[in-house]
């Protein structure tokens, strides 16, 4: 403000022009990044909207003929005998598996993630970075490699079966691969760090004097946790839950490797339409459904975290 007062010119035309030039320069500087993303990420999503309203071609791809079947086929299908509409049971069971496995995975990451976050946040300040680092490194290592590691663990000849057989607990190897259990187990392992980090941030900000006050008022540890700590770290828990839930819903690699060909999740159902299914419009419609579901969760996440920041002040 003081600078503006010092200029000998009236703050009119000249300044407006300078501002416009500045805006132009900033747009120009951002242009390469924007072009790359529009060409190879955002733009193709718009093309996919168009494809979802076309007719499937005989050998994959599409015919340029308007059709709503891509969308209706997501939940209903025509009976091959009498042409009536029936529920697409195969799809509905895959939606249900995606939803329930994502929820179970979120719950499991909560059970293991919250104590881990608490443990890290209550370490002496100098040691916290080390423990945090231990949680973060697996997260940044290759997802496929971590999934393969789980496969090694639960295969029929894997380490878990080997140990259980040696101990005489089981007589024959347990079939864990290619089950819903395998997918849930794998996703919990793979996405756990996404729960730990936001909960850690919440516990780190926790004012322990409030917990002390609860104890002074004769609250047991459990009551203090339930009535004081939990409400205070709730935003972190919600944030972590959404952060785990979102990639679970869109998971592709983990269910493909650990679930095999029978136990499909949403991502694998989408792939199927571009492979054997040869129904690109249906695949496009399913993709857009998944995208909208994830967007809703993301918007919720942004709301939670911005409210948390507002509360922090």
């Amino acid at each position: 403000m003081s600078e503006m007062g010092a200029t000998p010119y009236p703050p009119g035309e000249l300044e407006r022009e300078a501002r416009a030039a500045d805006t132009r320069r900033r747009w120009l500087l951002s242009l390469p990044a924007l072009v790359i993303i529009i060409f190879a990420a955002a733009g193709p999503l718009l093309v996919m909207v168009v494809y979802s309203f076309l007719t499937p071609g005989d050998y994959g791809n599409v015919k340029w003929q308007f059709s709503l079947e891509g969308w209706t086929n997501t939940i209903v299908q025509r009976d091959i005998f009498d042409d009536t509409l029936i529920w697409a049971d195969a799809h509905l069971s895959i939606f249900w598996r995606s939803l329930s496995l994502s929820l179970i995975t979120t719950l499991l990451t909560l059970i293991f993630g919250v104590p881990t976050a608490w443990f890290i946040a209550t370490q002496p300040p100098g040691k916290r970075e080390f423990w945090l680092f231990l949680v973060t490194v697996p997260f940044w290592t290759n997802l496929l490699v971590r999934t393969i590691a789980i496969q090694e663990l639960i295969r029929s000849e894997g380490v878990i079966n080997l140990v259980l057989l040696k101990l005489g607990i089981i007589d024959a190897p347990l079939q864990m691969m290619f089950t819903d259990f395998a997918i849930g187990f794998g996703m919990t392992y793979v996405y756990l760090p996404l729960m730990v980090l936001p909960v850690y941030a919440a516990v780190d900000k926790l004012d322990f004097r409030l917990v002390e006050a609860a104890h002074d008022l004769y609250a047991s540890r459990w009551t203090a946790f339930r009535r004081v700590i939990l409400p205070l770290i709730k935003p972190g828990i919600i944030a972590g839950s959404i952060l785990v839930f979102i990639p679970c819903l869109g998971a592709y690699v983990t269910p493909r490797v650990l679930g095999g060909g029978k136990n499909l999740m949403f991502g694998n159902l989408i792939e199927l339409q571009f492979g054997q299914g040869r129904n690109w419009p249906l695949g496009a419609a399913l993709s857009l459904m998944l995208m909208v579901a994830v967007m809703v969760a993301l918007i919720w996440y942004v709301r939670v975290t911005s409210r948390e920041q507002a509360d922090g002040r």
Binding site: R19, D22, T23, W27, L28, L29, S30, A33, L34, I36, I37, A40, A41, A42, P44, V47, Y51, N61, F112, G113, P115, T116, W118, F119, I120, E129, F133, L134, V137, P138, W140, T141, N142, L143, L144, V145, R146, A149, E152, R155, E157, G158, V159, Y189, F208, V211, Y218, I246, G250, Y252, V253, R256, G267, I270, E271, F274, A284, S287, L290, M295
Partner: protein, 273 residues
């Protein structure tokens, strides 16, 4: 403190919760045990994945001699290097444009577009790219690595952008103003003041983008043309057949390379100022 009731025994801390430490330590164990087993078995002399038959580098030699693995490894590195470099340059420019400034028209939109690849599940982006690139491939008859490089560059941009932006936001403009007071041209100011100051952010962004590109399976799987396997998609294909310890050996190499890059990344970003 002195007149607190004696209800609390010595060493009582409100920071301990029963069972939490045990669960936490178990979690750390569970995070590292599967990886450790994977690495251990890559050094197994036997063909079996389960029975330990002594230490050997046999599977590493076999993987290194496998031409498909060699090709995939070179392709992965070439792809990650190209995509990360282009993405980092674009992200650096975008970060310079969108930080340390008043709100200008379209700023929010630029920010939203740059982060767009993070908002959409990978499988969705992958099939959208499949649709568009399939049409372009038919139309032009051109099937080089350019599609993979474009796809990887796009999803690397937000990852490169984040640390660069974070770095820029810790820098105030006073040093640049001082340079300009001393009659440095805008280009000179950028090259001698701004660039050296933001360099750690740029290197961090480059490394993050490199790791992200190297790790990608889903988008690569859908965009690649025949014979364009990267190391991760090659391994994914192998898993369909019989798993050999060779996959463990390749996994170990990827793990170690990734861990080194991530450690360096943390070193770069945690040292403030």
């Amino acid at each position: 403190m002195a007149d607190r009731p004696v209800k609390q025994p010595k060493g009582y801390s409100v920071r301990t919760l029963p069972g939490f430490a045990v669960l936490a330590l178990f979690t750390f164990f569970a995070l590292y045990a599967p990886i450790t087993i994977l690495v251990a078995y890559s050094f197994n002399a036997g063909t079996s994945l389960a029975i330990w038959e002594g230490f050997s580098l046999r599977w590493y030699y076999q993987a290194a001699a496998n031409e498909a693995v060699q090709d995939a490894a070179i392709r992965s590195l070439y792809l990650a290097f190209s995509a990360a470099t282009i993405a980092t340059i674009a992200a650096t420019m975008a970060a310079l444009a969108t930080t340390r400034t008043r709100h200008f028209p379209g700023k929010t939109m630029i920010y939203a577009l740059i982060n767009q690849p993070l908002m959409v599940p990978e499988i969705v982006t992958a099939v959208a790219l499949l649709i568009v690139f399939a049409a372009v491939k038919v139309w032009t008859g051109h099937t080089s690595m350019i599609y993979l490089i474009a796809a990887h560059t796009a999803f690397c941009v937000p990852f490169a952008y984040l640390p660069i932006r974070a770095r820029l936001e810790t820098m105030d403009t006073s040093l640049e103003a001082a340079a300009q007071d001393l009659y440095a041209s805008p280009w000179m100011t950028f090259r001698r003041v701004t660039l050296p100051l933001m360099w750690p952010g740029i290197v961090a962004g480059l490394m993050l983008a490199f790791v992200i590109s190297l790790d990608d399976v889903v988008i690569t799987e859908f965009v690649k043309s025949a014979g364009q396997d990267t190391l991760p998609t090659y391994m994914l294909g192998q898993l369909r057949r019989v798993v050999t310890p060779e996959v463990n050996a390749i996994s170990t190499v990827i793990l170690v390379a990734g861990a080194i890059l991530v450690t360096l990344f943390f070193r770069l970003t945690s040292r403030r100022g």
